[in-house]
């Protein structure tokens, strides 16, 4: 019933001038706030990891292997003196301090999540804008993207890592590439509607060159849904990175990542579950926080999308 929604629109429009700014609305959204606080804590942990009572995350101590959480261990400091230290999260099968590894692992996980999101969103945005606006490119680009989507994301990532060899950069790319088609599809569908808007046609009539039309008039109007999508990509990237590390094909085992720590603890999981428990908690908390932020952003920035779901 158009007329009923017309009334609502009129009511909304009447209320519009006093609508608070986007930032204020975001600050009022409980899920954005809750997720944001958790994520900020994680970010702080990553930044000041050396100051949080950690020791070298790769430091091996054969004497104190497989200690349960809370055990006091003596270890030799660099100057030869012996120090007594409590391993809050226990140690792994090489005697490395799980607490230090989990804290340092935050750095890698967040870095992979953010970097993979930036890579996939920027490539996806560029391809999506062009594919949505240029008809001749659309068919070619979208069939290629369909082809990429036909390969399961994890398998594609595994294939790419084995192709390029393991390392932080290759893992970031391997995690980012399977996400690109999803971004392209989202952006393209937005562009298809935006380019029919009279203000885009007006810009064409004003003689604005095509690249400028895309950057000035089309792109800014795709931003809100794209930010929402980016949070979900970030969460999924962190998970995929952990999964690749867990399978032993991701970032080399000497670099502490949450996936690597869990992979290390896999063999003795029944006896010493702490090796999987603590990085698991950090991983779930982070991914949960990002997803919750994404939901909140969607409700605030893109109310149509939340109604649809």
């Amino acid at each position: 019933m158009t007329t009923l929604s017309d009334i609502r629109d009129a009511v909304d429009a009447a209320a519009a001038p006093r609508r608070p700014s986007t930032w204020r609305r975001l600050a009022r959204n409980p899920s954005v706030m809750a997720g944001g606080v958790i994520l900020l804590v994680m970010l702080a942990i990553a930044l000041v990891a050396p100051l949080l009572g950690t020791i070298g995350p790769s430091r091996i101590d054969p004497i104190s292997r497989n200690k349960t959480p809370g055990t006091e261990i003596t270890m030799r400091a660099d100057d030869g003196t012996r120090v007594l230290r409590t391993a809050w999260m226990g140690t792994d099968s090489l005697g490395r301090d799980v607490y230090s590894r989990v804290i340092y692992g935050t750095r890698v996980s967040l870095a992979v999540g953010v970097a993979a999101t930036i890579v996939s969103v920027s490539i996806g945005l560029a391809v999506g804008l062009l594919a949505g606006y240029l008809r001749w490119l659309d068919a070619v680009a979208m069939r290629f993207m369909d082809g990429m989507m036909a390969i399961p994301g994890i398998l594609l990532a595994i294939a790419l890592v084995s192709l390029w060899g393991a390392g932080l950069l290759t893992v970031i790319l391997a995690v980012a590439v399977p996400e690109i088609p999803r971004v392209v599809r989202l952006v393209r569908s937005l562009v298809l509607t935006i380019r029919e808007e009279p203000y885009v046609e007006a810009a064409v009539a004003l003689g604005t060159p095509m690249p400028l039309v895309l950057v000035r008039h089309v792109m800014p109007n795709t931003v809100a849904p794209l930010i929402v999508q980016a949070t979900f990509i970030c969460a999924s990237a962190i998970l995929v990175e952990a999964l690749l590390s867990f399978l032993g094909i991701g970032i080399p085992p000497e670099i502490p990542t949450w996936g690597n720590i869990m992979a290390e603890g896999r063999a003795l999981f029944r006896v010493f579950p702490h090796n999987i428990l603590f990085p698991g908690i950090f991983l779930s908390l982070t991914v949960l926080a990002i997803n919750v932020i994404g939901d909140g952003l969607r409700d605030t920035l893109d109310p149509r999308m939340s109604k649809r779901i």
């Binding site: 007329t3 009334i7 609502r8 009447a14 203000y199 009539a205 003689g207």
Partner: protein
């Protein structure tokens, strides 16, 4: 008719708006009555509260709106106090509603017969064959040809007018005492609108119902109303017999509204003279092709063999119903779509086939004003950014571009302070002024106005039309004016071309076409214009 108990008696109806709206009350102490066998028109501009009033009678108010006072008496029973269950019983049996958009008001996955049947099943004890007979009878009474076939059809198989007939058949299925029609003809073409208005009058006589007819169009009011209630900002401005209100309005607001309605008779105009040709369109055609590759190809001729010519200082109108191809012609001339055949001569040079690069010098000569002022300005750019974009594309410096923007805003009646605001901070009429200023900033030779006032209220419409007339005279512009509204065409055009199904059926001076139409379709269009016998243009604003 006098002395009868009214079927609907609205007394001091007051409806509150949610906090934070631009006014406190959506409807403020409104009182009027609808008697049996009477059509009352509730007329007003957008935001006047007329639809909210209609919905409150049906008990269909959105949850954010609450009736805070007054009574809505339907045959003596207060609808505002009725329980949801009682309202459900009364809907269809005592009162029913016809909506604006017949496509979305009908369920697309049910046949029309099933949808009428649903009403009968819910409220009557008739058995299936009896209901079937009743459905066919109803469809006959709303003058559907082949009622049996129509009952078996799905909504998408019918035209807009036929769908509206189905809605009316559903509304009268249980012979309610009151029908509320909320802009039932606004989404329809003018010839279809005339048929539906005729049908509503006929139905109202056949079933002896009272009709509350909500509309913004004074032409429609003049056509069907017995009594008129004029609303503004939620208040009832004037209520009385149609003839009185239309010819001797008591309130200044009503006088202003009626004076703003253009008359059907074109005003006397200074002859444009034979100046240079700015645009000549020669046998222009546009064919849209869909499918192909694997599916079967289908093609639609949106325009075929269209030839036109516009001279400097002259306004050529293209009138026609939806789907007649008038917008396609405009978009081809602006090269927003590529024509399939024919020539488009701007200043003597054919631009129909030019590639993007070669087209650039011509872009500045042809500017477009679009129908929807809410969508023709980028919501994320300030007015300043929108205004200087075009001139700066053609090498004008930032400072002179800004000076030009300021001067043009002044010309269209906006202050320079508007430059740093965003489109959502302006009303529809102001936005359309900004769009006109933006087009003029390019110093064009030809201005294409594609339904520039269709989305505006009648009082704002008059101002924008005056502005377009004013800039044409001052800047000696050629204007291609696309409209479906014959009154608007009569007001601003020197010559007019009538289009139907992609072809120009008649073209000539506005007086000749409007006063002595040669083609039968032109005659049908003119005859269908609502309130054509009413001398709207004659009444002076006072």
């Amino acid at each position: 008719m006098d002395g009868e108990t009214p079927i609907l008696d609205v007394r001091g109806l007051t409806i509150a708006l949610p906090a934070g709206a631009d006014r406190r009350l959506a409807v403020d102490a409104v009182s009027f009555t609808v008697r049996p066998r009477e059509i009352v028109c509730l007329v007003g501009e957008s935001g006047s509260g007329k639809s909210v009033t209609g919905f409150s009678v049906m008990g269909l108010l959105p949850k954010t709106l609450r009736a805070t006072g007054g009574q809505v008496l339907l045959a003596g029973e207060d609808m505002l106090q009725a329980t949801p269950q009682r309202l459900r019983e009364l809907r269809c049996t005592r009162m029913s509603m016809v909506f604006q958009e017949p496509m979305t008001a009908l369920n697309p996955v049910m046949t029309c017969g099933e949808q009428i049947d649903e009403v009968l099943r819910a409220h009557t004890t008739l058995d299936a064959p009896a209901r079937q007979r009743r459905i066919v009878d109803l469809l006959g009474r709303v003058r559907m040809t082949e009622p049996e076939r129509m009952a078996a059809a799905y909504p998408h198989q019918l035209s807009g007018g036929q769908r509206q007939r189905i809605m009316i058949a559903m509304a009268v299925a249980l012979e309610p005492a009151l029908i509320i029609a909320d802009e039932p003809t606004t989404a329809l073409d003018v010839t279809t609108q005339a048929q539906i208005l005729e049908l509503i009058k006929d139905i109202q006589r056949q079933f002896a119902t009272g009709v509350l007819f909500i509309t913004h169009d004074f032409g429609v009011v003049a056509e069907i109303a017995h009594r008129v209630a004029v609303m503004r900002h939620g208040r009832l401005v004037e209520f009385g017999p149609a003839a009185d209100v239309l010819s001797h309005p008591r309130e200044a607001y009503t006088r202003m509204l009626i004076a703003a309605v253009p008359g059907m008779a074109p005003p006397a105009r200074a002859p444009a003279g034979l100046k240079d040709e700015v645009l000549r369109v020669d046998r222009l055609a546009k064919t849209y092709e869909t499918g192909g590759w694997l599916g079967r190809k289908r093609s639609v001729n949106a325009a075929a063999g269209v030839s036109l010519c516009v001279r400097r200082g002259e306004t050529l109108g293209i009138v026609g119903e939806s789907g007649s191809g008038k917008s396609t012609v405009a978009r081809c001339v602006a090269r927003l779509v590529d024509p399939s055949a024919g020539r488009i001569l701007i200043g003597g040079q054919d631009i129909a086939r030019l590639a993007a690069g070669a087209l650039r010098p011509f872009r500045r000569k042809v500017q477009v004003i679009f129908q929807d002022p809410y969508r023709s300005l980028n919501p994320r750019r300030t007015i300043r950014q929108s205004m200087v974009e075009g001139p700066m594309n053609y090498g004008l410096g930032a400072v002179p571009a800004l000076e030009r923007a300021t001067a043009l805003l002044d010309l269209v009646g906006l202050e320079a302070g508007a430059l740093d605001r965003y489109p959502h901070q302006f009303s529809g009429g102001q936005r359309q002024r900004i769009c006109i200023a933006r087009a003029l900033a390019m110093e064009p030779e030809l201005l294409i106005a594609d339904e520039p006032v269709s989305a505006l209220d009648v009082s704002v419409q008059a101002q924008v039309l005056d502005l377009i007339e004013d800039v044409r005279r001052r800047l000696d512009l050629a204007i291609l004016f696309i409209t479906h509204d014959l009154r608007v065409a009569a007001r601003v055009c020197d010559r007019v071309a009538v289009m139907r199904r992609g072809e120009v059926v008649e073209e000539g001076l506005i007086e000749a076409v409007f006063l002595e139409p040669r083609h039968e379709y032109t005659r049908a269009l003119l005859a269908a214009a609502p309130g054509k016998d009413w001398q709207f243009g004659a009444l002076a604003a006072g």
